[in-house]
Amino acid sequence: MAEVSMKDIKLRIKSVENTRQITKAMELVASSKLRRAKERAERSRPFFSILQSVMDDISSGSDSESIFTKEKQVKNSCYIVIAGDRGLAGGYNNNVLDLAEVEMKNKNAVILPIGKKALEHFKRVGANMITSDFESVEDISVKNCHEISKVISSGFADGDFDEAYIVYTKFISVLSQEPSVVRILPVAVNKNKESKKYILYEPDSEAVFNAIIPDYIAGVLWGSVSESLASELGARRTAMEAATKNAGEMLDSLSLKYNRARQGAITQEITEIVSGSEL
């Protein structure tokens, strides 16, 4: 067995130890950020459920259809694709971008990328983008979501596109995240004719409905951004946990090798001394 020198092994051990320190730190950072991202997603829920129930009430109570709920012949589509800002998160970015590509196949699509990885990807493939302003998914604020939703809803109202989707990563648990697609426009409402309520709308139900559509979309978007962020951190945490574990295993086998090499060197020295003294 061609022995690697003890010095080489020692160097290697040192570098693996450094790497393990980094992956361990990244794991800890991801877990603490993950908690915050999850809380953020939770906080936005009441707002969203109020809007949803109002929209359901309005559409249950009226026979006319708003332009935002009417299905149209689809010529152009709009996709909001949410990916991460950084790599080292296992398959997180690839999974969501792959799904976006599959969904957009054979469609005339414009894209609104959120997150550096999404932006870079669609730049590379030369896709048609609405804006490239949202480079950092971590810095997206509620205000940004309202801005995006205004752009999307006015684009839809003007007929620039006939449907809009969000491609994001659903947060199922810390260990599992699933890339998924939701349609935001035309808006899906639960019509329930039997639960018709007598509610006074001012100025009228349609005006109220159209006024809250941008808020509703902003709500969906904010939820998706928060969930994607939580998923990214979850994926990174898992990836870094695995990396830390692998580094630990490597260290074990390297120190075994090191000890063997050391023992071998000592044995050889003894043999040499013994055989020398016999002369």
């Binding site: 906080r43 707002f47 309202h146 509610i199 006074l200 001012e202 109220v208 808020d215």
Partner: protein, 136 residues
């Protein structure tokens, strides 16, 4: 005077949850005030001041409230606002800076879309400033 439960939420979370006797705010159609026992009512919120009265004829708690909906049902009044800021939390310097930026943008930009965005920004800044001024 009878009180009723009021809940105020935005995407950032819950701002208020408690009993009040009156809430006044600006809807897209003009100012409205809600008292206890109002019929089920829904309207879209405009840009303006929201006043919450905890007791009759007392000084209200003020806030800047823009966008979203006001929903009155038999058991609860809910405000789901795009932005909601208590008057004491408004950063006047930031609001003034935003006002200045928006004014400059309106002067500079010629195309319709950007001008309307800048005008909306200006209106928001002015609303925040006027609400913040009232508690001084």
């Amino acid at each position: 005077m009878k009180s009723f439960p009021l809940k105020i939420v935005t995407l950032d979370g819950e701002f208020f949850n408690g009993q009040v006797v009156q809430v006044s705010l600006r809807s897209i159609d003009g100012d409205v005030s809600i008292l206890a026992g109002h019929i089920p009512y829904i309207t879209a919120i405009g840009m303006g001041e929201c006043r919450i009265y905890f007791e009759q004829a007392s000084e209200p708690r003020r806030a800047a409230c823009m966008g979203g909906i006001l929903s009155v049902s038999n058991d609860c009044v809910r405000i789901a606002a795009t932005t909601f800021e208590w008057a004491e939390d408004i950063d006047r310097e930031r609001a003034f800076a935003a006002k200045k930026r928006a004014e400059e943008e309106i002067l500079r930009k010629k195309d319709k879309i950007n001008t309307s965005i800048a005008e909306a920004k200006l209106k928001r800044a002015l609303t925040r400033i006027s609400v913040a001024d009232k508690i001084k």
